[in-house]
Symmetry: C2
Subunit: 346 residues, 2 copies
Amino acid sequence: MSNQKLFNVAVVGATGAVGEQIIGLLEKRNFPIAELKLLSSARSAGTKITFKGQEHTVEEATPDSFKGVEIALFSAGGDVTKVLAPHAIQHGAVCIDNTNAFRMDPETPLVVPEVNIDKVSEHKGLIANPNCSTIQMVAALKPLYDRYGISRVIVSTYQAVSGAGSRAIDELHRQTREVLAGNEVTPEILPVGALPVKHQIAFNAIPQIDKFTENGYTLEEMKMVRETKKIMGDESIDVTATCVRIPVVNGHSESVYVELKNDYELEDIAKLLQDAPGITLVDDPAGQQYPLASEATGKPDVFVGRLRRDLGSSRGLNMWIVSDNLLKGAAWNAVQIAEYIAIGQK
Amino acid sequence: MSNQKLFNVAVVGATGAVGEQIIGLLEKRNFPIAELKLLSSARSAGTKITFKGQEHTVEEATPDSFKGVEIALFSAGGDVTKVLAPHAIQHGAVCIDNTNAFRMDPETPLVVPEVNIDKVSEHKGLIANPNCSTIQMVAALKPLYDRYGISRVIVSTYQAVSGAGSRAIDELHRQTREVLAGNEVTPEILPVGALPVKHQIAFNAIPQIDKFTENGYTLEEMKMVRETKKIMGDESIDVTATCVRIPVVNGHSESVYVELKNDYELEDIAKLLQDAPGITLVDDPAGQQYPLASEATGKPDVFVGRLRRDLGSSRGLNMWIVSDNLLKGAAWNAVQIAEYIAIGQK
């Protein structure tokens, strides 16, 4: 990336789990940065963060923070994006938003670089980063869609607590210790911090992520339904989802049933995935090798395995998709978009 | 059960996790027992077990152990059933086998009392208890099948380690402590004790239960496919399964997508399940109530919730099915069959 134009970059939510990953990736990828602004809520302002050997002080994000900023990466909650992104855009920045605030806004591109990077050019100042569970699924579906077409997707997720923030990670650890010690646990955070009823996550499986919507699906499930159609650019794909939180710290797993529009050869599916950008195929039943959350953590790729044909429908295909929900599911996808904006390549 | 004929009952595998549950249920249900024989391998023989306040000594199971036995409950592995059940039958016993040895044998009824108790009468000395993950699913599917017909089932499981035996429970606890202490873990048992490759189960999701078969599905997945068709008595039902072990000690959860043969009303599905024997409906999204493994453990019922219509297909239905895999998934289902044989009612 030498001899490149350098950019003034802001990270909003710099002290959060995703913000930290974004800053780490900007450093690791040697992103062409002129000035880096680390922004947060008033509460976290003053935090010191080292970037490329230099100490930065996190500042409170305000409408005036974005003067001169050219690329702003938001991951501080939907309300923060709604309030501050218009100011950033007014100051000339392109915003990449990791929240749910604008994902379904028809004016806002919803981008997974491996699927629809071309949509970036349609932005009006803001590009939305999809939900973590959607990103890893559509990245794996795209090569199959292009070759065979997809009529329906039925997905059940096995989601890590890191997707619910650092307090949920603390809760899983705390509850696990209590159960091992033979004590009662008192759930405080999960399934949804803002809702009154709490359930034990240690040694349990909770079939609720985010609030329930009127049709009986949770918001997380509806995100998978709606975002998949928008990112794939095909409203005709039927998607149904069951989203479940399990006692894993980091790394989402997904059991995905896909119905293709045309007959397929399993070997060809494997080859398509092997050749696809951002995908690592791990599929060796004889060697007991398949994607695992424990192996995916810390890696940018989407891992796919357990490929097998539905025994009842010749166009049905089962697959197991695993990825680091904080990386490809959030920070890495956002930085990929930023790199495309900055240097015109994914 | 007073004034009933009393039976000589043998429990083979009396010191195992399922055997212990069977003995507990025989006591709790006040099963009409004349003499109780507790049998095991030579290694566990001599173990003392208290039944109704009386100490019993576990004896080594041999071909001669079954003299006078009228009902024999086997849960000591398929090889033990294959060797000893013929002797038990020769001595006049009816065998209820909890292993995989004879489940798909065309001569052997495969029974879930809520679904096909009538098949018991066709036995030729042996009745097979289905696989845990199948039992809880078909119990919930049966009332829907009877009313609407079922064309296909797509299931993803969230299975507890207790299904892999007490050594797997110990391994989950041990690994969890190691991870919390920041140490490396050395997997020794899971995913399959008899296979060479081991994976971490603590804070992970392993998409392998039992060995792989030639078609890329695991044996556990193929059990769900084949047993469901046999128990429901309908080979036309398409079933596909993804079976996953998660860090839960006890209680299997299942995300089940069902395609019915006819249009349905969601309220009617709820009512059917509410009225069905052995089913408890827990389905209150507004109150954040749904079945949980932590709540199902220790209870005989199959818990069903998260009922919602597929958004793409009007005959598609999603549900979340949870049950204690050692109880309804094994011991309780076997004791239900024994009760039917002994006193002619389920």
